[in-house]
């Protein structure tokens, strides 16, 4: 683990308290963490790509999480692909869940069900699932 480069994560969360929390615990766990506060910023960063995992909220200002995924699928794949996309949201509607999964998300977690420690566990779990180079790009 010491020789492998740090995994690069993106936390997309509009609530400041939660965003700071997730960024902090993930950084403390040894990841390089960036963040986005709204859907537009999320889209721009994910388009540039290169993240090992993206934690994506759904209810966001400007552009919501699902629309971000839609727009990414519609565009050409990013130069540097995003390997895993995990939705982290408090919206529990079945429709939203299936839509996210069909747009390339690997998982859907309800925020209030997880402690910060459990969120880190889930991130590790998804990273261990192996590469998924088509994530966030051509899945339509």
């Amino acid at each position: 683990m010491a020789d492998t480069p740090q995994k690069r994560l993106l936390v997309v969360e509009d609530d400041t308290a939660l965003r700071d929390l997730y960024v902090q615990i993930l950084t403390d766990s040894g990841f390089t963490v960036e963040s986005a506060v709204d859907g537009q910023e999320a889209f721009d960063k994910m388009k540039k790509g290169g993240y090992d995992l993206v934690l994506l909220d759904i209810i966001l200002p400007k552009v919501d999480g699902l629309t971000v995924l839609e727009k990414l699928s519609a565009e050409a794949p990013p130069e540097k692909p995003n390997y895993h996309i995990v939705v982290l949201s408090n919206l529990g509607q079945d429709e939203a869940i299936s839509k996210a999964m069909s747009l390339g998300a690997q998982g859907y977690l309800i925020k209030s069900d997880y402690t910060p420690g459990q969120v880190v566990e889930q991130v590790n779990h998804f990273l261990e699932l192996g590469d998924n180079s088509s994530a966030g790009s051509t899945t339509a």
Binding site: A17, L18, Q24, I59, N90, G92, D94, K111, S112, G117
Partner: protein, 467 residues
Amino acid sequence: MVYLTALVILALSLGLLFFIAQYYRVSNLLSHHQTQKKTLDALWKIEQIIVNSLNFQEVAQKISDSVLLELGKFGFAIIVLILVDDESKSLKRISISRTQEANTALEISPVPFNNISIPLSATENNCVRSVNENKVLTTAHMANVLVPAIDRNFVEKVQKTLGVKTTITVPVSSKNKILGCLIFSVKKSEKDVSTYEWDIIHGYADAVGIALDNSLLYTDLQTTTKKLDEANKHLQELDKLKDEFVSLASHELRTPMTAIKSYVWMVQNHKAGDITDTAQKYLAIVYSSTERLIHLVNDMLDISRIESGRFQLHPAPFKFADLVHEIQTEFLAKAGERHMNWQTSIDPPDTTVTADRDKIEQVLENLVGNAFKFTGDGGTVTLKAFIKDNNLAVAISDTGRGIAKEDMSKLFTKFGRLGEGLPTLSQPGTGLGLYLSKQFIELHHGHVTVDSALGRGSTFTFTLPLG
């Protein structure tokens, strides 16, 4: 010889007379038969209207038209159908025959046909009298059916123009209720109206009653059906709105709860430095209270979805033993703390079931959690999974205080918590657990049963179909 000739002529004449008489007799008979046949034909036409039309307006118009077809040739100039309007307590014109005389009358009438309204209190009007007294009435004055809606002098002038001599009003009824009346305006005097024509008039009035009754019933039915459809659509919209509201409310409630839960966890796990034992104790209470709220929101969201039919199970095959093992571990610590006997078993151990694992886990946590909650320290809780009648049966038993007979009906209802239990803030219980457990099992096409008595402990059993 002359006498003989005279006799022969007389005989022949008599014979001829006889034959002529017979001929007329036969032809009268024939004509009578023909009349009967015509009456039957005419009545059959009305029956056809009853059978073929249910639209009220259609029926009313067809009735007026068809009657005229039959009676027009006998000098019947105008036929009008009038119905009682209960709301305004008056008689309203509904339809009029399409004849030349009728058109003339319509054109010169100062009041539009459909606006002619006779209050039921105008007892000098023949229509009103026919309806009120259930009697056929005849008058030489057409004005007697139009006053007070139209001025008498005016009508008398119109009557002369039209050549109408007699106006007959016949009540129309069905099932002993008088619905209105028919007005027949004839261009001949009363005594010249034949038996045949009277038969038609009466026959039609009867049939009109039935036809109207049917069509009014149908219209009623259509209106009711339409109203029911609209109410149903409205209910579905409300259901959808309720579901959306609950989803939105859940999201809004969960967000601050996530913050509370997460930051408390951070402090508890020393991310903000060391804290005293007392602080840990207090934070544990804050944490479990928040967990209780989160579970409540989750349960309400699930119930809302189930009730509006939008709940989706995600079944997949899994080894039941794995789930049992998880539950075993989950309650191990609690059992240890309270010196309780906690046993689980599954037979056969490789049983695979196709179900929504998360929901079944929730059911197990609820039932086992209840068993622990309602059993005193040192007691026993067991979980036995076995096959019965091609179902996986899971029985959770405890040696707790049991459930009173009168409380059994409350068990699976919403917020139907029993007695004071042993709840402390550290035991999240929403009052919805059993209700949801039952819903989840039944959505899997399984059943939940309970065997219990006060002081005897309880066994909750649920089944899941296999294969």
